[in-house]
């Protein structure tokens, strides 16, 4: 599997090197993006949803066909209040429709459709409820999970203090260490994600990358990221790879091989009604579609995407 992936990456890299980047638009015909269209759509995303920024990435990984300061898009510290698995279980339990089909677009339901969300939010982010103790295959690092009750804790320097601010009602003596802070009654401990969008030259589409952090702001093991991916996609369309613009770490990525086809299908709907979608809205549509893969990661994108030119 690994070898296959390596060979494939090598092939893809070679093709990317020898082919010129797309400059002519084929958005309406194929659902793909040219490089200038990616920049245009990215600028529009940053303007409308300012939690997104352009970034330069590591200079050694700079792609010459993209502007130096606009190599990829990123939004950081995005809350992920609950696990995608738990959302799906609820759907099953409630017999809910997963596909929102009123517009005939066949999109999966995304944020906020499930019933008992508010109660759940309070329970899920707590570390005790996470099944992180599994040691087979997943090497858990005890100090990441300072709330845990593992015996391992004794040997390893842990930070049993820092995630829990419950007893810091310390209006008393100023100590060198911590300030006065009111009782922690509803500070949310939750996973967060850095979500980035790169341009995939081979598939001529954007590509989404996820970097996760646990409740104590420590990097999330890639394996645990799968808990936040719709089970229809985990380990199939989502893989763990090196980031094209960052040096360190392994990042989860939604594989772009089907992106163009899906985008084409989505834009065909307004087109059959005589409305021509504007290419600068590409990323809004794209992110709406990606939300079906990562339903609980609450990044910003304009909810009411108006595909047409009337907006």
């Amino acid at each position: 599997m690994q070898v296959k992936q390596k060979v494939y990456e090598f092939y893809k890299g070679t093709v990317e090197r020898v082919t010129a980047p797309r400059t002519v638009s084929a958005f309406l015909e194929k659902g793909v993006l040219s490089v200038p269209e990616f920049i245009l759509a990215g600028d529009n995303l940053v303007a409308k949803c300012p939690t997104w920024s352009w970034e330069a990435g590591d200079p050694s990984k700079r792609k010459p066909y993209l502007p130096a300061n606009k190599q990829f898009l990123v939004t950081r510290n995005v809350p992920c209040l609950r696990r995608a698995i738990s959302v799906e279980e609820e759907y099953d339990a409630a017999g809910a429709e997963v596909v929102l089909d009123e517009d005939g677009e066949g999109w999966l339901a995304t944020h906020g459709v499930q019933a008992s969300k508010t109660e759940e939010e309070e329970d899920i982010p707590s570390m005790d409820t996470l099944d992180i103790g599994r040691s087979d295959g997943i090497k858990s690092i005890p100090s990441y999970f300072s709330g845990g009750k593992d015996e391992e804790e004794e040997d390893i320097p842990d930070m049993d203090t820092y995630e829990d601010t419950g007893d810091n009602l310390a209006a008393a003596e100023p100590s060198y260490f911590i300030a006065e802070e009111p009782e922690d009654d509803n500070i949310l401990h939750t996973r967060t994600y850095d979500v980035s969008i790169t341009y995939d030259k081979y598939y001529q589409t954007p590509r989404v990358w996820l970097t996760g952090y646990d409740e104590s702001r420590m990097p999330l093991m890639p394996e645990l990221v799968f808990e936040d991916i719709s089970q229809d996609h985990a380990r199939k369309t989502v893989t763990i790879e090196d980031h094209p613009h960052l040096l360190a770490g392994k990042h989860a990525s939604v594989h772009p091989c089907k992106h163009a086809a899906v985008m084409k299908k989505i834009i065909d709907v307004p087109m059959s009604g005589g409305v021509e979608p504007e290419v600068d809205k590409y990323l809004f549509i794209f992110l709406k579609f990606i939300a079906t893969v990562i339903p609980t990661i609450e990044y910003d994108y304009t909810m009411d995407v108006d595909l047409g030119s009337t907006s």
């Binding site: 300012p50 939690t51 930070m159 260490f177 802070e181 500070i187």
Partner: protein, 337 residues
């Protein structure tokens, strides 16, 4: 929010602590830097952290360190609204013993002294981000692909009482007209690449309800020309009952540099990248001048080691630990076999 009702005014100022979020890229960059450049040199290194106002409900924002943090900010992205660069210091020791033996109390005081110096000298007015100065101590155990570290957000211990006289959502304090004008001005401030990364600012509201936002260095110029003057700052916090951490050093600045004893504060927070006047807070604080601070030899007390509870000694301080095994080429080869 629960708890707010129980605490009446006036009350002692409490603040919401700030949390660091260190990307693996930062440690990877340090690893490379140590191997390629530093060797066994363990002298302090200037680094850059990234601060933002609270951006998303319902959580607070974090203080970010990334791969670019070892590079001076002028070389990384400038004027990015989601990344206010803040100067910091990294002390990376060569071994565990050196790491454990660091005198964290003195290190913190040394940073506090720098902050005080920047307040007194007026540097804060030119570059307000120095009020957010931070400190990282680490031991990068490269043989075992591990890093042990602690982060501190030094905060001057004001030796007179800071009292909070009121604190309410901005949308409740301002009139509709004032809120509308303020919203527009804040958006303008946040859109301009020149001002968007400046985390401390002045808001003046004139008698015709129009609000304008200015830099701290314009304080003298805008005196007298307003109905209300608010001392604004980017607030990372999400609580409705207390401001964020950085207000403490801001108050110290207002008191020591401008001799202010009572001020209206504005805790600026955002929702989806736009001003969130429902969760931004306006309050009033009083803080009589502290004593002894005009002595040039004065060494202020400081607090701010992340995650340490009161009463624990520095020597006992537990480090955070991060595993960099995923960056180890050897372990990746193993996986493949």
């Amino acid at each position: 929010m629960a708890g707010a009702g129980a605490m009446g005014f006036p009350r002692e100022l409490m603040v919401q602590r700030i949390q660091s979020l260190v990307e693996e890229g930062f440690w990877d960059a340090l690893r490379r830097h140590k191997l390629d450049v530093l060797g066994t040199d363990d002298s302090p290194i200037p680094i850059t952290g990234y601060y933002t106002p609270r951006q998303r409900r319902p959580m607070a924002s974090f203080f970010n360190l990334r791969s670019g943090s070892l590079v001076p900010p002028s070389h990384s992205s400038v004027g990015d609204r989601n990344n206010c660069p803040v100067p910091g210091t990294l002390i990376n020791t060569n071994n565990m013993r050196g790491f454990e033996n660091l005198d964290r109390e003195q290190l913190l005081k040394a940073e506090a002294k720098k902050i005080l110096h920047d307040i007194v000298s007026g540097k804060v007015e030119e570059d307000p981000s120095v009020l957010l100065r931070f400190l990282v101590t680490s031991f990068a155990d490269l043989k075992n692909w591990k890093v042990y570290y602690n982060v501190a957000f030094p905060s001057l211990v004001f030796n007179s009482r800071i009292t909070l006289l009121s604190l309410q959502p901005a949308s409740k304090v301002l009139t509709k007209e004032e809120a509308a004008s303020m919203y527009t001005s804040l958006q303008k401030w946040r859109t301009s690449s020149e001002t968007t990364v400046i985390p401390f600012f002045l808001v003046s509201i004139s008698s015709d309800s129009s609000a304008s936002i200015r830099q701290l260095k314009e304080w003298k110029a805008c005196q007298g020309n307003y109905q209300k003057l608010l001392f604004g700052f980017y607030d990372h916090g999400c609580r409705s009952d207390c401001p964020g951490w950085v207000l403490r050093n801001y108050v110290a600045f207002l008191s020591i540099r401008w001799k202010i004893e009572k001020a209206q504060i504005f805790c600026y927070r955002e929702y989806k990248g736009n001003p969130d006047l429902e969760q931004s807070l306006i309050g009033e604080a009083s803080f009589p001048s502290p004593y002894g601070w005009d002595n040039p030899e004065f060494l202020p007390d400081a607090i701010g080691w992340e995650g340490v509870k009161p009463g624990k000694g520095t020597k006992e301080m537990k480090p955070k630990e991060i595993d960099l095994q995923s960056m180890n080429p050897a372990s990746q080869d193993e996986e493949k076999q």
